[in-house]
């Protein structure tokens, strides 16, 4: 072991050589290499957590750089996990890093999470958050959860030593679109740093046994007032009985947010007014389109892949729906089907 590298923490009685050995032997999976994932990974790698997995399907986009501090302007369009691994090994070459450039879903979650002892959730959508909870409960693994919204963050450790789970706090996900995510409502970069660093701290505490883990406690932090409070909550035993995973994207109405180019409603209206050469595709159901629309062609999301011939890929194509969620999914679908084009998502919907 590299005693000099870890000297400042080894001399802490709460960590010591024994704690450092535990860190070295630990297996931690970090879901999401974004705003939270970057500081989580940097601190865990620097502290000598020996075996790390990183799950993220995304590529680096310019709007990430305000808060995702592992990446530089030169990394645009590169796979986040690949860039992250390179940077992290530069910080500390003594750790093993395995990268998974995929989205977490019901089919791969148990296998991925099953390979690790501690899960850290730095994802950006409710579908993944409920999936991480349910899979962790099934596998009896603790997970450190962090989430951010504008200037506010929440941190807790769920399913730790039979403690409460995410569902003991928030039994069911919000109705789709009712709680906006960072790309819709904004987030301050330093908050991601604060909350992600707190998550890394909880991981280190769990591994080394130092201090008191945030189990059965939700830390709520408000950066504007710099006030934080800890809310205590209890386990509800029924929430431990999870026998199978569900289709969380359907239940939550959201999904991992890819780096889709976006456009706002004012700009689309201006393009329509100027009769700019572009294609507008409304991916809602026909009855919604008939009720009200801003023009364009109606291709329901479910029919999109069979209707690719209707897309004019020579032009910029704006996808729209009621809230901006289904249209974003439409672009993800086309990209994953290998359809190339200049696709824009109308954020916030029509």
């Amino acid at each position: 072991m590299d005693f000099q590298r870890y000297n400042r923490q080894i001399i802490l009685p709460e960590i010591g050589l024994e704690g450092q050995q535990k860190l070295n032997d630990a297996r931690v999976l970090v879901i999401g290499a974004g705003g939270l994932g970057c500081p989580i990974l940097q601190y865990l790698v620097a502290a000598g957590v020996g075996n790390l997995g990183i799950v993220d399907a995304d590529t680096v986009s310019i709007s990430n750089l305000q808060r995702q501090i592992l990446y530089t302007t030169a990394d645009l369009n590169k796979k986040k996990v690949a860039v992250a691994k390179e940077r992290l090994l530069a910080i500390n070459p003594n750790v093993n890093i395995e990268i998974f450039p995929v989205n977490l879903h019901a089919e791969n979650a148990l296998e991925l999470l099953g390979q690790y002892d501690i899960i850290v959730d730095g994802s950006d959508n409710f579908a993944t958050r409920y999936l991480v909870n349910d899979a962790s409960v099934m596998l009896k693994k603790p997970f450190v959860s962090g989430s951010i919204f504008k200037f506010e963050g929440q941190v807790s450790v769920f399913n730790y030593q039979n403690g409460p789970t995410y569902r003991c706090l928030y039994a069911e996900p919000p109705t789709a679109g009712s709680v906006p995510n960072c790309s819709e409502i904004g987030v301050i970069g330093t908050l991601a740093g604060i909350i992600g660093t707190m998550q890394a701290a909880e991981v280190i505490k769990m591994i080394t046994g130092a201090g008191e883990v945030l189990s059965g406690k939700l830390l709520v932090f408000d950066m504007l007032s710099m006030r934080s409070q800890i809310i205590k909550f209890k386990a509800i035993s029924e929430n431990k009985n999870i026998s199978k995973l569900l289709d969380y994207q359907v239940i939550c109405g959201d999904f991992p947010i890819g780096n889709t180019d976006t456009i706002d409603k004012e700009s689309v209206e201006k393009w329509l007014e100027e009769e700019k050469s572009f294609q507008l595709i409304d991916v809602r159901n026909p009855h919604e389109f008939e009720r009200d629309n801003i023009g364009g062609i109606n291709i329901p999301l479910d029919d999109l892949l069979e209707s690719i011939h209707e897309l004019d890929v020579e032009k910029e194509i704006v996808f729209c729906c009621q809230t901006g969620l289904r249209s974003a999914k439409a672009i993800e679908l086309l990209k994953s089907a290998g359809v190339e084009g200049r696709f824009l998502n109308l954020v916030g919907g029509i």
Binding site: G37, F126, E152, E172, P173, P174, V179, N181, K232
Partner: protein, 80 residues
């Protein structure tokens, strides 16, 4: 008498403030207070799982709330 409630996350946007006061009888239950908030601000219903914290503890439905209690309304947050 009024209950003072600190607001978090999207509930700030829905209610349009960081703190509100609700006029209700003393010894209201947590469930009654939540129902009243959802009634006054119907958009809160879409959040489904709203955490009402009283004196820094998760308030069970039948918890009786007093005027001097410290109350917070906390929704789930998904950003990362």
């Amino acid at each position: 008498m009024k209950y003072g409630i600190n607001l978090f996350g999207i509930t700030k946007e829905i209610i349009g403030n960081t703190y509100i006061e609700i006029e209700m009888e003393d010894k209201t239950s947590a469930e009654q207070l939540l129902e009243r908030l959802k009634n006054d601000y119907p958009k809160l219903k879409a959040i489904k799982s709203l955490l009402l914290a009283v004196n820094s503890e998760y308030a069970e439905k039948d918890l009786v709330i007093h005027f001097r209690d410290e109350i917070a309304l906390i929704p789930p947050v998904s950003g990362g």
